[in-house]
Every structure is written in C-alpha cells, then in structure tokens.
Amino acid sequence: MAKILIPTPLRQYAGKQDSVELSGATVGEVLSALTTQYQDLRRQLFNDEGKLRSFVNVYLNDEDIRYLQKDATPVKDGDTVSIVPSIAGGSVAAPPEPATDALSKDEILRYSRHLIMPEVGMEGQLKLKAAKVLLVGTGGLGAPLGLYLTAAGVGRIGIVDFDVVDFTNLQRQVIHGTSDVGRKKLDSAADRMREINPFVQIDKHEVALSSENALDILRDYDIVVDGTDNFPTRYLVNDACVLLRKPNVYGSIFRFEGQATVFAYEGGPCYRCLYPEPPPPGLVPSCAEGGVLGILPGTIGLIQATETVKLILGIGEPLVGRLLLYDALAMRFRELKLRKNPECPVCGDHPTVTKLIDYQQFCGIPKQEAAVEQVFEGDIDPVEVKAKIDRGDPFVLIDVREPHEYQICHIPYAKLIPLGELPKRVNELNTADEIVAHCKSGMRSAKAVDFLKKAGFRARNMKGGILAWSDRVDPTVPKY
C-alpha cells in the first residue's frame, strides 16, 4: 500500500481526505486506482487526452518521477506519492485587459444592490466596469468622488494629484485619515479606494496637470471629473475636454455655496460659455483664504459622482445646460439655464483656441507664483520683530486679520485693525511711529503696508504672517 497525499484544494474531490492509501505496483497504477475511485479527481489531474496536466508533477517520496522511471516507477509498501504543481511566472508579459464582459461571483455579490435594479442590472454594472474615469484632484471634491465611484464599481479610475496630506485637509477630505498626514495624497487615496473595492484599477498620476501633459493624461479616459480649486486648472481641464470631446463633470465650492454641472457633453455648453474670462487674480478667494464648510464638498462631490454614473449608464436626465446652485445655509437648490455660446473661443462655431495655451498667463497669474517667498523692500522677518519687542524698540505691531481669526491665535503685542477697517481707523496710528503689519501668511498685510505707505506712514510687512511666527518664534501659537 502506498500513501497518496492530496493537496488541500483537491480534497473535496477525494472524500475530504488529506491522504488516501492505495495499492499498485507502479506510480501509474496507483494514480489510476486513485482516479478510478475518485472520478472527479481525474479531470483535475489529467487533460482531455488523458495526460497529466502541464502543471502537475508527481513525486515518489522526495523524487520527481520524471527523473525516475516516470509512470513505471515501482512503488513499495509505505511509499508516499505527492502531487505537486509546478508554478512560475513574472511580470514580463503585459497584463491581460480585465474582462469587462462578465462579472465574477464575488463581484455579483458585491454589486447585488445595483444588479437588482433594472435601470442598472447586469448590463449597467458591466458598463460601469468598462468605464474609465479621471478625477482631477483628490481634495474636498475628489474625496467623496473617489470613495463612491470606487464603491460603485467604475472599472478604472485615474487620480491626478501631487500634494501631500496635511492636518487642515482632514476637516473635509474624508478619503484621507489622521495617520495619512504627511503621505502623498495619491498613495493615501489609492489605499483607501483599494480597501473599498479591490476590483477597481487605480491609475496614479503624480503630476500637476499642465498644458504639456493634460491631453496625454485625459486621452485614456471616458469622463473627466474636475475637482480642482483654481482657475488656471479649471480652464485647462475644460479646454482639454472640449478638444478631446470628453464630458467634464464640474463642481466648485466656496464657504457655504456650491455649483455643479456637466460641461462639454454632446453639444452642451462648456466652462468658457459660462465664464469666457477668468476673474482678476485675487478677486475670488480660494478655500484656503475664504474657508469652506467641511460637509459642502461632500454634497457637491456626490452630485458630480451621481452625474458621472448617470452618464456611464446612459440613464436619467444629465445635468447638461443647467448650472445647479446649492446654498447650504438656506438649504436650497436653484438652477440656471446655460446655453452653448456660438462665439465661444473653444467650443463655438469658429473656435480660436484649438490647442492648449498658457493658463497661468490667461488667468493673469505671474510666471513665478512662488513670489510669496520673494523678499520685498522693507519686509521684516518674524524673528526680527520678536527681537524688537524684546529690546523694547518703539514701534507699533498691527494685526490686519479678522476678529474671528484673532480669536484663534494672536501675538500679544499686536493691535487688531482688520484690513477692511484700516482706512477709517488710520487716525489711530501715528505717522511718527514705525509700523509693522502682519496677517495670516503675509498677503493681506502687504496690502495694508501698501495703503499705509501711500498715506505717508513708515510701514513694514512681517514676512510669512502669524504662520511664520508660529514656525520660527513661538511654536505654541496654533496654525490654521
């Protein structure tokens, strides 16, 4: 009698035993006895021609029978016959495209609540699986978009970001967690998305979208979802979508209000039909400057996600030619009709923009946006300001932020005069005094200094604002 060890996955075909004792004079006879007794095992071990499958090796004790006498290898009492697959592989050959013509058992279970709705069904879920969606940004809007589009089973999702998670993101960017602070947003978002749905392919594009790379990146996708927070990128995404004829699912947020619509969709208007020209730089504050209700991007991002899924499924009435306005404080939605502008420079009848342009320049932003770091005449370093205070130098430090910001943190020596009140309260200052102005990061105080100089004061701007003060002088001052 020889003992045949049955590999775990085959035990179901061998009466759930991990080994079987059988008699036979040779290995061939023992295997034949085995598959006669357990018919289902035959199909697992032998192909249609009755030969051992290519991946099946048979060992007698510790020796491969190929190097003994093959099937004719004699078997003694107490010998052990093992069935061992041969396994190899490697990344060398390109990945086979994931099948989009069928769902696996695990996928059917996962998407059950979609599959039982006739509006989605198997056909719709396969459309979702075949769909390729690009999310520009994994911030406030990108977070809910990434979570829900992944859960819904969009087969391939590209994410574009080059930023790193910081603590101020966590109030709204729910795809990132506290332990992700300091990580690349792309890595943090991709991990979370894979955790939600391992069936989704995630492409990470660690770049700042630009006129040079946008067409190449967008080309591979069916739908582009704009989750950006600045005008140059918004115009860039719009123009690239129009040029590539891909729908641009748009959303924007500010404080308590948001907007959403679908641009560049089959004859519908584009972003430039609505806003032919960007606002002057600095007129519309960003979320970093003006703040945003943390939940707001959730609402707007999910409107974008809903429209994306509707476009993929081809159901319902797409948000095309309609700008949805949302006011969280009033809790009201309104709609504005949007029309395609025949004169539109990019999607009109006679377009003048036929390739991507310099969007920084178009939006009036100087080439070196990093000018924040630039030292202006008369700037003063926070460390120097601290030294002046400690030495008792005669000077006046004014804080030109808003009272609610002053409540978050302030420098004890500073006098609060919000920028907007400065003209009418300028008489509280003396032209004989040296004045140093500060704000949060140095932008508003630069305006204050400019105003004061024109009014005849000797004024200097504290470089980097109270954020730099916290970094360089007093780390107990919280940053916001």
Binding site: P7, Q44, F55
Partner: protein, 138 residues
Amino acid sequence: MIRIEPDAWREMVAHAGAAYPNECCGAMLGSVEDGQKTVRIALPLENAYEGARERRYELRPEDLLRADKEARSRNMDLVGIYHSHPDCDAYFSETDLKNSCPWYSFVVLSVRNGAFDHANSWLPDAEQTKAEREELSY
C-alpha cells in the same frame, strides 16, 4: 475571499521589499473554511528562475512539497502562492497565467522603488486561459 493575517502579511511585504529589484516568491499556509481562506503563515521560498529574476520567478516543486509538509505538520493547509512584481502593477500577467495552477490563490504584490504599493489575489482556471480576481484583505 482570502484574508491574510498581520504577521504573515508583514512577512510577505518584507520579503518583497528585501528581494527588490528581483521578484520574490513564497507559499501561504493557513486554513480554508466554507470558501473563506485565511493565511496564518507566509513561507518565503527561493526564486529559482535562472535568468532575469527582476521579471520572472520560478518555484522549485521540491520547495513547494516542503511547504506542503510544513503545512501538514502544523495542521494547516497550503492555501496559495505569493510573488512580487517590481515596479509594475499587481496584475496577473500572461507569464503568470501560463505557469499557474488552478488549485491555489495567487497573491501578487506590487513593489515600487523597493516599497510595497498594492496587492491583488488571483484565481487562474485549469486551462490557464484566464484568472479571476479574488477579494483580498490584509
């Protein structure tokens, strides 16, 4: 569904990182209950491919036999095989498919610049024509 317990997972990720830029391979031991696979032990094995191990791996059947014995001695099962894909995604390549076996789960770990990036588990069919993705948790 295949779930990899933390100790085994750490072992696999460390192995994939240590082998970088080469591919690594190993066996996963654990249990199968009602189709739910649990991996308790990762057993690193030698990549026996003779040639460019950055892009290929090969498991010696002897090593696999040893892994199976190890599993039996611990009252466990050989549940699957893992290997790494340096600097590319955790797909199941044509090479993986043509050298696969339908009895086991194949966990592929993507390693980029020496650091773990993501992983997938695959279930190839007996004809080596396609592999289905299996839910993986770790």
